[in-house]
């Protein structure tokens, strides 16, 4: 134990122990130069350190001038010589010095001022203060410790030491901290071990390329490290936890055989709503349901839509031969061109179907969506949705539930799931997926269903399509244990650095 401690000592610590402490019981004073190693030794409980403040008295420039005699002494000598002197006749001092000297002499009760400004010495003359001061000035020329002075001298120093802003003073004080060090009981043993230790081989901290080159490392003694010391904090490059979560989800879907699709944020009402069989007067399509573009407000041309617009318009009107009676209204070909911000990830499923109507296909998208909701802890101004479809001859409702169950276990690690009936304008039957969370209980993960024939028919799809959408933000909040959706976006760096997943 003691051996370990003494092996791990830093060269500076050893130097301090060897050079500054001569015997186990000695108390020594060290200066601030050695404060570093002294603190390390204190942390290791080898020594006790008591800081001590030492105040030294020096002379100011003025003080040095007074070595040959203070103004007060000069005034006294002059009065002694002439019995009395008129203040205006004192010509050997400058105005300030004369004023100070008279002030001090009066306060020491040495002189009195008679009518006509004539100074005379008092009868009971006590010149002790003047003499002591002169002596003090002489001593202070080679600096003296304030604490070693007697009370009278201390009061004289206090009377005339230079404070900030006061220039006409004699003394200057400097404060210096020294450290009284003393070995602890454990420290005494370490000290003894250090004394016995042979440091004739060089103790080194850092192995250098030169040592390796010339082989001198063989004769070196490597200082051992203490592993109790906390390392310095560093900053590193780091992926954003939310981006990482999204990447994991993407990888899972690819591993299940899904193909990713991407699209623009600005969409037409056609793809976002009409192709998904939402009637043009549907409440989800008004100013509270979707964001409209100010300019351009409408698509100039709709090349991609044109192929399907007749079918979609008929299906809305009368079912267009899909076996549906339709919504029973005249489709507005201008409204369908209205530009909006993508309000649901399902729009990408409609586009994927239009592009790949043949079975078998599995597609997914991770799409930024926008809805005019007020922003709060669960509603971000824009949010990601995970949507997808399976186009297959043999798919049915049981297959849909099977896929949802797979998602719950793969994407949310849920062991228990349940399904409830749900409503979406574009799927029938529709279901919601719930997963059992260990602490939150049943949590809704998303919705799904079999696309209505009114959706698939106009896009030229002849087989069933199951469609699903999962609330990515909610899943991420659960996975990353975040209660406020806004914490994912635009927070200060320090807060983000502490998000640990």
């Amino acid at each position: 134990m003691i051996e370990d401690i003494s092996n791990e000592l830093h060269p500076l610590e050893i130097k301090l122990l060897k050079e500054n402490i001569k015997s186990v019981d000695e108390e020594t004073c060290i200066t601030s130069e050695n404060q570093g190693p002294a603190n390390w030794l204190q942390l290791k409980q080898i020594i006790e350190v008591t800081p001590q403040v030492k105040t030294t008295v020096h002379l100011t420039e003025l003080g040095k001038k007074y070595l040959e005699g203070t103004p007060e002494k000069k005034v006294i000598d002059c009065i002694k010589e002439r019995q009395s002197i008129k203040i205006t006749d004192i010509d050997f001092l400058d105005v300030e010095e004369k004023k100070d000297a008279i002030k001090f002499l009066k306060s020491y009760d040495i002189i009195e001022i008679q009518a006509g400004g004539i100074l005379v010495l008092k009868e009971s003359l006590n010149l002790e203060k003047i003499e002591v001061l002169q002596k003090l000035i002489k001593d202070a020329d080679s600096s003296i410790l304030f604490d070693e002075l007697d009370e009278l001298k201390k009061s004289l120093v206090n009377e005339r030491y230079k404070e900030r802003g006061k220039t006409r003073n004699v003394f200057d004080l400097t404060k210096e901290t020294t450290y009284l060090i003393k070995l602890t009981e454990q420290g005494k043993k370490v000290w003894e071990a250090v004394q016995k230790k042979d440091f004739s081989t060089d103790e080194i901290t850092q192995l250098t390329p030169e040592m390796l080159k010339d082989g001198s490392w063989r004769t070196k003694h490597f200082r051992e490290f203490s592993f109790d010391i906390k390392p310095r904090r560093i900053l590193i490059g780091r992926p954003h936890p939310y981006a990482e979560f999204i990447n994991e989800v993407r990888a899972k879907l690819v591993s299940m055989g899904f193909c990713e699709t991407r699209g623009g944020i600005v969409e037409t009402e056609f793809w976002n709503l009409d192709a998904l069989y939402m009637p043009q007067s549907h409440p989800a399509r008004d100013v509270h349901g979707v964001y409209f573009l100010k300019s351009p407000a409408y698509a100039k041309t709709i090349k991609e839509e044109e192929k399907f617009i007749n079918n979609v318009s008929k299906v809305h009107k009368n079912g267009g031969g899909t076996g549906s009676k339709g919504w029973g209204y005249e489709f507005d070909n201008q409204q369908t061109k209205r530009l909006i911000l993508r309000s649901q990830g399902t729009v990408m499923s409609a586009r994927a179907l239009a592009e790949h109507p043949e079975p078998s296909g599995k597609y997914f998208t991770i799409a930024r969506c926008f809805r005019p909701d007020a922003v709060d802890s669960t509603h971000a101004p824009d949010f990601l949705q995970l949507d997808g479809i399976v186009v297959s001859e043999s798919i049915n409702f049981r297959g849909l539930l099977g896929l949802l169950k797979l998602f719950a276990s793969e994407l949310a690690c849920a062991k228990e799931v349940k399904f409830t009936p749900s409503y979406f304008p574009f799927t029938e039957p529709s279901a919601s997926l719930y997963a059992k969370h260990p602490t939150l209980g049943w949590v809704e993960l998303g919705g799904a269903g079999i696309f209505r024939p009114e959706v698939t028919g106009p896009l030229g799809v002849k087989v069933p399509v199951i469609a699903w959408g999962l609330g990515l933000d909610r899943m991420a909040m659960m996975a990353l244990k975040i209660n406020d959706i806004r914490d994912f976006f635009s927070r200060d760096l320090e807060t983000m650095r502490y998000v640990n997943t």
Binding site: R238, R250, I265, A299
Partner: protein, 569 residues
């Protein structure tokens, strides 16, 4: 989604049994409802299916979750049709204002305070939710004792007639009602384009109501204890009007009242003819094969079982061979396709009674082409010591300080909820500066980057805009310098530009071309060129921009625009 409040006791008396809250929660799933809150007897329920106005009331929910065959006996008695002595006569001029009306009489209803409150809520929910704030549907309920039939439904000039509206004590013209009455002010928008307004009066000239605004304070005032009522529904679509008549009639019938139909005589043609009796049957029939059920659901089914379950949902079912001929109940018009009926069966069957089936389609999974590029760039930036940022795309014009893109190319939202989220960002530079502006207390150095979507104007494409992915990086600390970031940019391009060559000192030969840009210090901004094409911008941010953002340290940034175009071959 709509929310309603019902009384648990009321629901239980309609169901003739008591329920625990848990049982109720389960049962509500079958009407696509969720119990949001219970407060003593009061239950707050959210309903999902916007096509089912019949479920926006306690009676409708009770009907659906009762799990009993409910068709024949409980439905409105249609025997009376055609020989009813009660009539509404429609005036020709109403055709251009609010052309359709339907109604019925209620006899022998014991209307309690609670029952009245429910009736008023149903009336409001149907008119506000389904009827789009009374624009498409409005409903009036009156004390039938005081009405002398026939009732006439006509269009009158705004100042032609006066009556005392509900909750008032003096007569007002229709024009005054729109200006002075709270309901008048709320719903005046519906009539703003018309020079004549709808009015309903009895044969003695007593005003029943001013649809869709307000009832009269006399016959139009229904109180608990009233036994005989008259109800009318007006609107712009006769199918919607009749559906709502049917729903309300069915609700009151479920409460034990007798419903007496009323005949509406139109001077003009409707899809149901000139004389339309309401409540009515829609007489629509859907044919579904047993295999349709089986194929869609993945089940082997018994025809008897299907019939039994569907009749619990109010369907009238006839089987001929393998085919079902199905009539939906009169209070539903949401059945557009056989899949709607099949879902109703699946719900009765119980979603959790299906055995989930594993998917056995083999397909090859792939990401989009840009994804590997994004992942590569992320890894390089992180390797260079940068912390990744994810920001929102929706922002405000005020947050575009120091933007490198022209302000006029920002795409604006026509109907923002607030100014804070009213435009789409067209560059990531403001997003990262905004992170800096709130991170002055975060330990330095700051090295951050974001790879994300921005939306830019482009008049050459169909939608006038393009969504592109940019990569933007920022360094900030007291000694941050251009050369810090230049090295990062250089090595990043070396590893990501195909066939890139190293120069003698090992760096990539990136080509920078000095430009002047107000966001950067003069002489310290440059376009980044690859193969003589501008791919982005790099430089030291102007102190004025930093001051505007309240950023206290120098900032150097680069932005690579449309990385798909740059890096995807």
């Amino acid at each position: 989604m709509a929310g309603i409040t019902i009384s648990k006791k009321d629901l239980e008396s309609l169901l003739k049994k008591t329920l625990s809250v848990d049982e109720l929660g389960m049962l509500l799933h079958s009407v696509k409802g969720e119990l949001k809150e219970t407060n003593g007897d009061e239950l707050k329920i959210d309903l999902d299916d916007t096509n089912r106005p019949d479920l926006l009331c306690v009676e409708g929910i009770a009907r659906e979750i009762k799990n009993e065959k409910i068709r024949k006996n409980a439905d409105v008695d249609t025997e009376e049709h055609g020989k009813t002595k009660y009539q509404i006569v429609v005036d020709e001029q109403i055709q251009n204002v609010r052309p359709y009306i339907g109604g019925f009489l209620v006899k022998g209803l014991s209307l309690t305070e609670g029952g009245l409150a429910q009736l008023i809520q149903t009336q409001e929910k149907l008119a506000d939710n389904y009827g789009r704030n009374r624009k498409n549907i409005s409903i009036g309920i009156y004390n039938a004792e005081e009405i002398i039939f026939p009732v006439s439904y006509k269009a009158v000039a705004p100042e032609e007639r006066k009556f005392v509206p509900l909750e008032f004590d003096s007569e007002l013209t229709l024009k005054e009602i729109l200006e002075l009455h709270p309901k008048g002010k709320e719903y005046a928008y519906i009539l703003k384009d018309f020079s004549k307004y709808p009015l309903l009066e009895d044969s003695k000239g007593n005003v029943l109501s001013f649809p869709p605004i307000i009832n009269s304070n006399s016959v139009g005032k229904v109180q608990a204890g009233n036994v005989n009522l008259f109800c009318d529904v007006t609107g712009n679509n006769i199918e919607q009007v009749l559906l709502i008549v049917n729903i309300i009639a069915q609700n009151l019938k479920d409460r034990g009242a007798e419903i007496i139909p009323v005949e509406v005589k139109y001077p003009y043609d409707t899809i149901f003819g000139k004389n339309v009796v309401s409540p009515c049957e829609f007489k629509e029939e859907i044919k579904i094969n047993k295999t349709d059920f089986e194929k869609l659901l993945g089940l082997q089914l018994d025809a008897i079982k299907i019939t039994e379950e569907l009749s619990k949902s109010g369907y009238e079912v006839e089987i001929s061979g393998e085919q079902f001929r199905i009539k939906p109940p009169s209070y539903r018009r949401d059945i557009m396709h056989s899949v709607d009926v099949i879902e109703d069966f699946a719900i009765r069957y119980g979603y959790n009674n299906f055995e989930p089936e594993e998917l056995n389609e083999f397909t090859v999974g792939k990401t989009t082409l840009i994804d590997p590029v994004i992942q590569k760039l992320r890894k390089l930036m992180i390797g260079a010591g940068f912390e990744e940022i994810v920001s929102n795309i929706l922002t405000s014009k005020n947050q575009m300080l120091g933007n490198v893109e022209p302000l006029e190319s920002i795409i604006e939202i026509e109907n923002p909820v607030s100014d804070t989220y009213s435009v789409l960002r067209n560059s990531i530079i403001p997003s990262l500066l905004s992170v800096e502006s709130i991170s002055s207390k975060s330990v330095y150095p700051h090295k951050i980057f974001e790879i994300g979507e921005v939306v830019v104007s482009d008049s050459t494409v169909d939608y006038g805009t393009r969504t592109i992915v940019n990569l933007t990086a920022l360094i900030s600390y007291p000694e941050a310098s251009f050369s810090d970031l230049h090295s990062v940019l250089d090595i990043l391009l070396y590893y990501s530009i195909p066939d890139s060559k190293q120069s003698e000192n090992g760096a990539y030969v990136s080509n920078l071309q000095k430009i002047e840009h107000p966001s950067f210090i003069k002489g310290r901004a440059a376009n980044i060129l690859v193969n003589n094409k501008i791919i982005g911008i790099v430089g030291e941010i102007h102190p004025q921009v930093l001051e505007d953002w309240k950023i206290r340290n120098p900032v150097v940034m680069f932005e690579l625009k449309d990385i798909e175009k740059i890096f995807v071959k």
